[in-house]
Amino acid sequence: MLGQVVISGLLAGALYSMVALGLGLIFGVMRVLNVSHGPLLMLGAYTTFWLFQWWGLNPYLSLLVTMPLLFVVGVVLQRLFVSRVVDAPELSSLLLTFGISIALVNIAQLAFTADLRSVEYLTGSFVLGPFAFSKSRVIACAFAIVITAGAFLFLKMTRLGKAIRAVSQSREVAQVCGINVARIHLIAFGIGSALAAAGAPSSRSWSPYSPRWGRRIPSSPSSSSCWGARGTIRARSSAASSSASSSRSPRSSSPPR
């Protein structure tokens, strides 16, 4: 039983880790606490749902659509709203992103109604010895790991990734070195949102969801990403995984409300 719980926790942890990475990226680069991260995940989930509903698109393949889409949404939000509170005290960014999250959730509610939706795609489990792993969770975890690794590589190897890291360390110095900081902010918020969306098909293949659910997400990823916020990106992800694993244990069978 304990082993099962630990493994469930680790599987979920990979997922939270990826979402928290997005949050941590936004906080690291802009010092903005993005309370609307959950609703962004929710939007990704709905996109996945509708793609599945209308065109039968494999939820995992739909990542190819949802991630760029949410990237754009993130960029738009940043350009219109978040860019104005980048330098402001944390109260402003918290409130602003909270306002955005309420707006997103309620627009979703108006557009999609509050009915519960779910995507039935991969059912059944892999059985390995005494442990049973739900197939969808395992695939979700695999995806999460791949995407997180991809994000790491991006940040570490590519020029753009290095520019992002530079801005998160010192905005002024980055500016003086010729980096277009405003553009980096846009991109970082976009990537953060895309990472949130990436959590969608994976997490929602085992529970039904509705717009309100988007509001419950912020607590977990934000606290875990803030633990690691002062450290490196690696620190944030590991903090997220460990907190997810420990929080999952007593509730491993019940989905978030």
């Binding site: 409130l95 309620n106 934000s222 803030c226």
Partner: protein, 306 residues
Amino acid sequence: MKRLALFALLLLLAVLALYPMRGTGYGVRFMLQLFMWIALAQSWNLISGLTGYVSFGHIAFFGMGAYTAGILIVKLGWPWLWASLAGGVGAVVLALVIGWPCLRLKGPYFAIAMLGLNEVLRVAVSYFEGLTGGGSGLSLPALYASVPIYYAMGVVALAVTGLAYVIVTSRFGLRLMTIREDEVAAEAMGIDTFRYKLYAFLLSAVGPGIVGGLAARDQSYIEPISVFPLIMTITMIVMVLFGGKGTIWGPVLGAVLLFTLQEMIWARFIYLHQLLFGAIIITVVLLMPRGILGVLQQKYHLPRTI
């Protein structure tokens, strides 16, 4: 000029005191809730408007007060007035327990810690199910007491506003403000910033605690989601921002305007209500972070006691 203002204030208080005799049931409940929001907003102002330390889970004190009072009423049969006062005490104790470690954290970390507090309390309530009724909530014996509660809420709102006035015009208040202006310099000038922050924090918990107890009595029912909602903290904050953070009448103005607006919208556009609220939050944060009175204060060099 000052005497005129004082006279106007007393007149207003007299009108409010006599209102329940002429007002409708709805009117009394409206005013009662307005007083509650004034008390909440003003209390938040005491810690966050003055010291700049954003308390993002302030509603926790409201919930604490509600549960303390609720439990005392249901399990021990206390009269609601004393139970509500005890709610205030409970909130202060909570503030002490939370503030002692958390006020040592800096800016964003304090905000997140307070955010987490809400969630912790919600879970704690579920955990102590025997005492609190857990997720299914706590029901109080039915009692129609809108009018006395109206007066009680009004007194608390008045008291907290009076407290704000006393603090802002005292050196204690000045020292709180130095924490907001420049904490390092304040420390260097001999101000024990931790102690001052703690005092402000404790004082800011009393109002919500008592008001929470009164609200519990008024609703005759409490459940975790209704007394620890983040949206109430946000509402408090937006009211203060809108009216003017750090001023005395700002929170009052903000509460009056926003609460009235909310009631009007809620009555007519139920579905758009929350969306509009989100839009209001965004507008206030982006366009008027200093608030109405804050802007006026700067432009016309108004005294700090505005």
